[in-house]
Amino acid sequence: MEVTKKPKIKSIPYEEFIDNESLEKLVEELNAGGANVMVGVLDDLVNWGRSNSLWPLTFATSCCGIEFMALGAARYDMARFGFEVARASPRQADMIMVCGTITNKMAPVLKRLYDQMPDPKYVIAVGGCAVSGGPFKKSYHVVNGVDKILPVDVYIPGCPPRPEAFYYGMMQLQRKVKIEKFFGGTNRKEKKPENF
């Protein structure tokens, strides 16, 4: 069966996003067993709502956190995309934006924060430090990439990334949320690796 579902964002041409292939592959995998018409529509409805009100956790360890605050302010205004409800408690958050360096001492704390978040939850690695260790890669006290301890959905490179880059990454996450499947059939997401 052909799957026509596309992770589209309204008013932005589909081709303007890169990495469409991996998302399309994900759609195919999720719908490998076929999608029920009724339930599929219900999925679309739920995902439409979910993708447009992703609540981030107010979490920042260093520089990228300031740019995250700039997103909240008037000029970049993340309320336009439904991200404005930044929660201070992980129990109310949908996604965690890892803004800044994660050190060895912070790693267990971050893991605990992630574990406290309710499913479904998403992780965005923001900035060079969270992606790979960045300028502090050679340090004895820095985790070289947050993907060593958490499963990451979207990477946003930059030191720090521009607010536009933040949005690009956050929209990529929205697109990912849009194609997820909750009803009818199992959610064939990647299996969680053992050590997570």
Partner: protein, 530 residues
Amino acid sequence: MENILFIDPTTLHDEMLRLRNEKQMDFLESLTGMDWGVADEKDTPETLRGLGVVYHLESTVTGERFTLRTATTNREKPEIPSVSDIWKIADFYEREVYDYYGIVFVGHPDMRRLFLRNDWSGYPMRKDNDPEKENPLRMDNEETFDTTKEIKLNPDGSIKNKETLLFGDEEYVVNIGPQHPATHGVMRFRVSLEGEMIRKIDANCGYIHRGIEKMNESLTYPQTLALTDRLDYLGAHQNRHALCMCIEKAMGVEVSERVQYIRTIMDELQRIDSHLLFYACLAMDLGALTAFFYGFREREMLLDIFEETCGGRLIMNYNTIGGVQSDLHPNFVKRVKEFIPYMRNIIHEYHDIFTGNIIAQERLKGVGVISKEEAISFGCTGGTGRASGWACDVRKRMPYGVYNKVDFKEILYTEGDSFARYMVRMDEIMESLKIIEQLIDNIPEGSYQEKMKPIIRVPEGSYYAAVEGSRGEFGVFLESHGDKTPYRLHYRSTGLPLVAAIDTVCRGTKIADLIAIGGTLDYVVPDIDR
């Protein structure tokens, strides 16, 4: 190059006490741990070996400065007398040195690690230590201890280990952080409460300890510059200015007049940027969300100016050794000149919405008072010190750049409470505008970059340079052994003294005031942990 006096550890405490009392050396500027290695055959009698400490002292009365050092050759059990009873800030500084080098300070009441985990093995800054090999990433939670150890010196000269209790079983201890929106980063406080009153605060740092000082020892001089911007990211220009100045001083490089002007203007723009963010965050912490938008509105204008010239919004990477990265953008002067009157005309909105607000006044006035003596003893420079009446501005004390050519007032308040700390920063925005206004029309022509070799060797010696950062004195202590990498590069953190003082400031206030006090102290955590 600095003149450094050597004091034997046996007489160190008496000598320090004498300096404090007779020479009025009341400000311990910086305390740096050192590892001078083990004795070698090629050593001359003057070569200093072993583990030691460098002290930078200054008198706030006479302005005299002293640099002293001490060392012990015992690497197994290095012991140096503590000076924490003379200067309060030595408490935290010595814990930092213990953490990095394993030097035990005899007489220190609280010998715990400051940044690293309790169960960390080895001392990372020692030259013979390989911290990564011994300490793989551990995902188990760190255990927090309620006790601490003290190494006491008995009158007969023997040493006794004593265990002291931080928090008793009957005490009600609340944990705040490391992930808490009002701690301005990842800072952890353990607060002992009596009802709503704070009885004691134990600050736990190190959740963003990135090991910058150790990394510096394997980077070439131009490479070390990149990390300074990321220390205190709201003082990126100033931090980098300090390091460039220190290296230039060491090498005897004179930068052109144009560069001095550009650096000074950039430093002041950065200060306005930082203070606007301070205002926005403080207001948000106290629940005034509209004020947050005001602060960011003007800050974005500054970021645009920065972006045009430097290419970055937050991390600018602008200063280089012997100059700046690129010349000013043709629009720079015009846009700065537009910004100055705009900012002057709009600042009343800030005061209308927040300063005069009765809730803000009630929560800030008379809360979290720090006296002048305490501010000096803790080394709380910047806005915090000036709010207590301590004239600690580096721009006046040790003028650099072109600060000696401009006319500006050092903002001083005497109350020492949260409101004074807030007002100092709001007034400093105006003073910074005044400085920029005097300079912006007179930027001389000239080259923006001196010719430098790609590999720089700094002559042997120790050097110290300081600038007035956005939140206090940012100092750089460089010891060079003539290599292309620094032997030791230590940063005097602007925020560490503020966090050290938070226990004293908060005692007896309400738990909700901790947020307001933390907000007005205005520390940036990556700068504390380095």
